[in-house]
Each structure stands twice: as C-alpha cells, then as structure tokens.
C-alpha cells in the first residue's frame, strides 16, 4: 500500500469564504497575528500497489479539483 496526497486549494484570486470566516473568528481566541487563512481539501489516496503519481494527477484533475477555481498539488507521502 502506498499513499498519495492531493492538496486542493482555491486559486489565490478566488474568494475563500471559509478561510475568511475562520480568520474573523481568531481574535475571539485571542489570536491577533494571523494575516490570512485559506482552507482547501486534503485528499489521501491509498493505492493497492505502488504509489501512482500519474494516476493520482489524473484523478485530481478530473475528479478532485475544479480547474475553474482550484489548483492542486500531488505528492507521495512517505
């Protein structure tokens, strides 16, 4: 078994209401030195055999990320 991780984040120019809501809540936890929060998805794909980066990239592109508003990164997890 081998794990590939796909991180999917909103493109930087796209509004991230979730991240904004969290950033706005931080002062209530006494945190004031955070400039911004962005929230995306972390997808862990467990392959039966070898970690297949190419495959994972294809899955990310077709299924996990919406290229209109999101970017993704694929990496093998050690």
């Amino acid at each position: 078994m081998a794990r590939v991780v796909v991180d999917v984040m909103l493109k930087p120019e796209i509004l991230d209401p979730q991240g904004q809501a969290v950033a706005n809540a931080l002062p209530r936890l006494g945190v004031s030195d955070v400039a911004s929060v962005r929230i995306g998805r972390r997808v862990e794909i467990e392959f039966e055999g070898e970690a297949d980066l190419e495959r994972a990239r294809e899955i990310a592109d077709k299924l996990l990320a919406n290229p209109v508003i999101e970017n993704f990164q694929v990496k093998v997890e050690s």
Partner: protein, 592 residues
C-alpha cells in the same frame, strides 16, 4: 505600469485602444470619443464597454420591450415598474410586494455550482434594493438531455448552488421548473426569481440626490471576480474560446449576503439612507453611474478607498469587478456614523468612497489622479439602440407542417403511459426540490409539488401571495407569439387555481444571438405575444430580464420566454391545494 489618467488621455489622443476586444463596435467607440471630447481612459473604456454591452444596455431588445409599457393596462397597484431594480405592486394600503426573475445562464455552464449560487445572490439583492425583505425564491431551470454525461456535471452543480445559497440565506424555495431538452446541451438556463415584501412607505430609490451626501459601499471586499463577466459572458456567443474566460466566474458568500440583508433592512427601518443600489453585473461602474444619472447629479469618488481583496488591482479592474454581496448607499452626512454603526453591529464592511456633487459628472480619482470624468447619463441611459433585422426562421414552415394530427395513433395505451411516466420532463422532481429548504421563515403555505407557491405575508390577517413561473420552449419554437402567450396563460392559471387573483407579471426572455435575424424574429414575436397576452388578461409586466447569446456555436437554444405571475390571496387559509380534499367531491372539467 503607470495609470491611464484623463490628463494622459488628453495628451495621447492617438494611442490605440482595444475597444474591439472589449466588445465595442467602431462607431460605438467613436461616439464615446465624441461624448468625452477626447479618447477615453482605460478605466472609462472599460466602463463604456460594460454599460453598452447587450446585457446592460438592452440595445437589441429595447425597441421591442417598449410594448410592455405601451400595451399595459393601467394599474394603480404599480408603485414601481420597468426600469427600476424590480417592479413593486401594492397589495393593500400598507404592504407592497416586489418580484423579478433573472438569468445566470452562462456562468452556470462554466461553473455550475457558483454560477447558479451567484444567480440567486444577484436577484435577491435586486429585491433588497427596493426596500423589501426577500421572502422566497423560485428557479426555472433548463438542462440538456437527461442522459448526456455533461448534464451529470451541470445539474447537480446548479441544484447544489441554488440550494446552498438560498438555504443559507434562509429563503424558502417555493417552486420552479426542471426541463430537459438537447437544445440546452451547451447552454443550460438558470433563471432565478425572488419575491420580497415591504411596507408601502419603505420603498427605496436609487437616485443619488443631494449634493454633499456621502456615497457608501457596503459588503464584501472587491476582488478580480467576474471581470468582463457581463460584457463577455452574457454578450457573446459561447464557443471553444470560452475556456479562457473561465477565471471571470464569481464565487459567492451567502453568509455575507445574509448580513447585508439584515443591515439593509435596519438602515431602511431607521430611515438612514436616501438612495440605494445593488451591485451586480457591471459592479461599481453600473451602481455609480446609474445612481448619479437617476438623480441628474454628479459624484466625486476616491476609488482607492474601496476595500480590495488583492492589493495589486488597478482602477479599471476595481470598476469592472463583479464581486458579489455588495450594496451602494447614498447617505446624508449627519447619518453616516449611524450607518457605519449598523454595519459594524452586523459585522460587514462599510466604506465611504465619495460624495454626491452637482457637477453632472462622475469623477473618479485613484490616489489623487483623475482616471474617470464622464457624464453618467451617457453610460446609464444613452447607450446605443439597434433595430436589428428580423427574419422568420427558414425551417419554420416545415416544422409547422409536421402536425400532431399526422402522427400515428398509439395502439398500446399502457406502453404510451409508461413512456410518459418515465420521461425526465414528467418525472418526480423530488431529487431537486429536497435540496431546497421550503419551510424556513414559517410562512410557506404551498410549495412543491403544487402548481403555485403561496407565502403568507401578514400573520395577523392571513394575507398572502401566490407565484408561478412557466415556459414552454418547444411550443415557442413552433410559434413564438403563441408560445409566449401560452407561458403567460399557464402561469396565470396556476396562480388563479389556488384561489389567488393574478395581478402582475415578470419575465426572463432567454434567446440565442440577436445578431441572427431568425432569433431576433423569435424574440420580437415572443415579446409581442407576451405584451398582447398581458393586455388581454389585464395585468402589467412590472420587470424582467433579457438573456441573449444562448447558443452553442451557430445553434441557438429553443426560444425560452419564462413568465412569472404574482397573485394576491386575501386569506391563505382559503387556498385551494392541488390534491383531492374530500371523499365524494364532484369533478368538473372546464374549457374545451
């Protein structure tokens, strides 16, 4: 890069400008130069290209839409009509209702979830701008074939987007349509209707009156969303090139919109503002010029005061941005603190960005340099108007010759019935409607699966309103004049059968390219039919929306006029639901 200022424009008269890329024709560009007495700055060019786009200027439809006013029966219920953000109808001497249907078709094809969501957000702000509390939404939808793979992408996204946004605003969804037809394969239709209620004396106005008054922008920060959205997405044919236009899709934040709703209502209630305009397509450009033009005043705006999501934005981008969830207010200086206080209670950003002047010019500066100096009426009211050529579609005779009478009679009725029941257009719509909250606010009297939605608007007296939206594009393709009348008649009947009295009409006219004479003919016929139908039934069109360029390549969608009818019911307890109520009731069939 240095900013293109008015001063610079004057000193570089021959600089080439990308007007054609922005969708302006050569003669339109020349007119702009004439109006300004010089070439426009980059910001001004962006503003004219947006405001003179089909979507904002109604340049191809205006001469036809006039009929709605000319043929309309006189109605003393109408407090605001066509030309306002939404039509307003007096229900009694205390309460009024405002409603309107709008399209968000192209964005919903590109990014179904966000496109549909921001469609709901946009129409809700139109209703809010009239002074009303939004109380319900509806969503007439058209998709390609139910078994086409792309429908599996578009439909769940659209439904999720409409539900996600509307549910989060706390607006019950009280009806709509789901229709499948291959003609919508590359161009689904996402129309959204919103209805709101206001005390008659709380009706708001968009005019930026009173020189010295402050211009306040409230709501979300401004980002690069939807730049060129209106002019590019909604005013051009959608084809392979559309891939590159993708970044202009906006992302909505319904939570901020909910806070805007509550803030606005508090401002209206406490009479803290003199004018209000929502920001939708064409963003600040539209809001600034329309409010100033409506009052015949001017405005001095310091654009750098606008809260930006991305610091690197340039003035023309700030002016063109279609970031969602923003409203513009005109505020007397003595009320400014109170306005800012309301915003801070609800946790939304409010920023004074300029003042009303009596110069008759909208002047916009960017860190002290003048980037815009225009007469606002030239953008808001005096856009180009076209009488486009009309020609009956060549295939119409053939289509009409293929009559129902010539079809073979079915021999196996059971088989026919099963085919009908299994057809996507007739099947149960619960998969869709379950994703919408129809109970929130606690005043929904009728909703899915009824013919009309009914909302109680006065808990003490039981006063209510009924609404239905309908359209039949296959019929309209065969005969646009009667197709439009049929849509009206269907919505009218759906409202009437609940026991409500139909009083007003809104419409969303979804058509192909106006540059195609056959499409333009369909449009002209449909408008004529709808206007005549309204005259015959004795109810006015109070507002609506035109969506052109709904086509894939050279192939237009079926012409799709969607008609919404609003009715009044004095006591919702007397509404008549669809189902059979009592054993032993008699059944009658009226009509032929």
């Amino acid at each position: 890069m240095s900013i293109d200022t008015v001063e610079r424009a004057e000193s570089t008269p021959d600089e080439l400008q990308p007007f054609a890329e922005l969708g302006l024709k050569e003669d339109e560009y020349e007119r702009i130069c004439q109006i300004l007495g010089r070439r426009p700055t980059q910001s001004e060019l962006a503003m004219y290209s947006i405001m003179w786009s089909e979507h904002c200027s109604y340049k191809s439809s205006k001469i036809h839409l006039k009929q709605f006013g000319e043929k309309a029966p006189p109605s003393d219920r109408m407090l605001a009509g066509i030309g306002e953000n939404a039509g307003v109808i007096a229900v009694n001497d205390k309460l009024a209702v405002t409603f309107k249907v709008e399209s968000h078709n192209h964005p919903s094809f590109v990014e179904p979830h966000q496109g549909a969501a921001t469609g709901v957000g946009g129409i809700v702000r139109d209703i809010l701008a009239m002074g009303a509390r939004p109380v319900a939404v509806m969503d007439p939808l058209r998709f390609g074939a139910a078994d086409h793979p792309d429908t599996a992408r578009v439909l769940p996204g659209v439904v999720g987007g409409i539900g996600g946004y509307g549910n989060c605003l706390g607006l019950p969804n009280i009806g709509g349509e789901v229709v499948f037809d291959p003609s919508y394969q590359g161009n689904p239709l996402v129309n959204a209707l919103c209805v709101g209620v206001l005390p008659v004396d709380r009706l708001q106005n968009k005019a930026a009156t009173g020189p010295g008054n402050i211009v306040v922008l409230m709501g979300a920060k401004t980002g690069r969303d939807g730049i060129g959205g209106v002019s590019v997405l909604a005013s051009a044919t959608f084809d392979e090139g559309s891939e590159q236009r993708r970044p202009s899709v906006q992302v909505g934040d319904p939570f901020i919109e909910k806070l805007l709703i509550e803030s606005c209502l508090e401002l209206y209630e406490n009479k803290l503002i003199v004018g209000v305009q929502d920001l939708g397509g064409a963003g600040l450009t539209c809001a600034l010029t329309e409010t100033a033009a409506a009052a015949g005043t001017g405005m001095d705006v310091q654009l750098e005061k606008v809260h930006l999501r991305e610091a690197s934005m340039e003035p023309h981008e700030v002016l063109a941005s279609e970031s969602q969830e923003r409203m513009l207010f005109i505020v007397e200086p003595s009320n400014l603190d109170a306005v800012l206080n309301v915003a801070s209670i609800w946790g939304v950003i409010a920023t004074p960005i300029g003042v009303v002047t009596n110069t008759g010019r909208v002047r916009i500066t960017w860190h002290g340099e003048t980037v815009v100096d225009v007469p606002p009426g030239s953008l808001a009211d005096d856009g180009p108007i076209y009488a486009r050529p009309l020609r009956e579609p060549a295939d119409l005779i053939l289509l009409q010759a293929d009559r129902a009478e010539t079809l073979p009679r079915p021999t196996d009725l059971r088989e026919t019935l099963l085919t009908l029941v299994a057809s996507p257009n007739l099947c149960d719509k619960t998969w869709v409607t379950e994703q919408y909250d129809r109970y929130v606010l606690g005043n929904t009297i009728l909703a899915q699966p009824e013919d009309s939605g009914i909302i109680r608007i006065d808990e003490e007296t039981g006063l209510g309103i009924a609404l239905s939206v309908d359209g039949n594009s296959r019929y309209t393709r065969l005969d646009p004049y009667d197709g439009a009348r049929l849509a009206l008649a269907e919505a009218f009947r759906n409202v009437a059968v609940t026991g409500a009295e139909p009083v007003a009409v809104t419409d969303c006219l979804n058509f192909g390219s106006p540059e195609d004479p056959a499409v333009m003919w369909q449009f002209a016929e449909a408008v004529r039919g709808l206007a005549d139908g309204c005259q015959e039934l004795g109810i006015p069109v109070t507002g609506g929306n035109v969506s052109f360029y709904n086509q894939t390549g050279a192939t237009a969608i079926h012409p799709t006029p969607i008609v919404g009818v609003l009715g009044i019911i004095d006591d919702v307890a007397k509404r008549i639901p669809m189902g059979f109520s009592h054993d032993g009731d008699l059944l009658f069939l009226l009509g032929e």
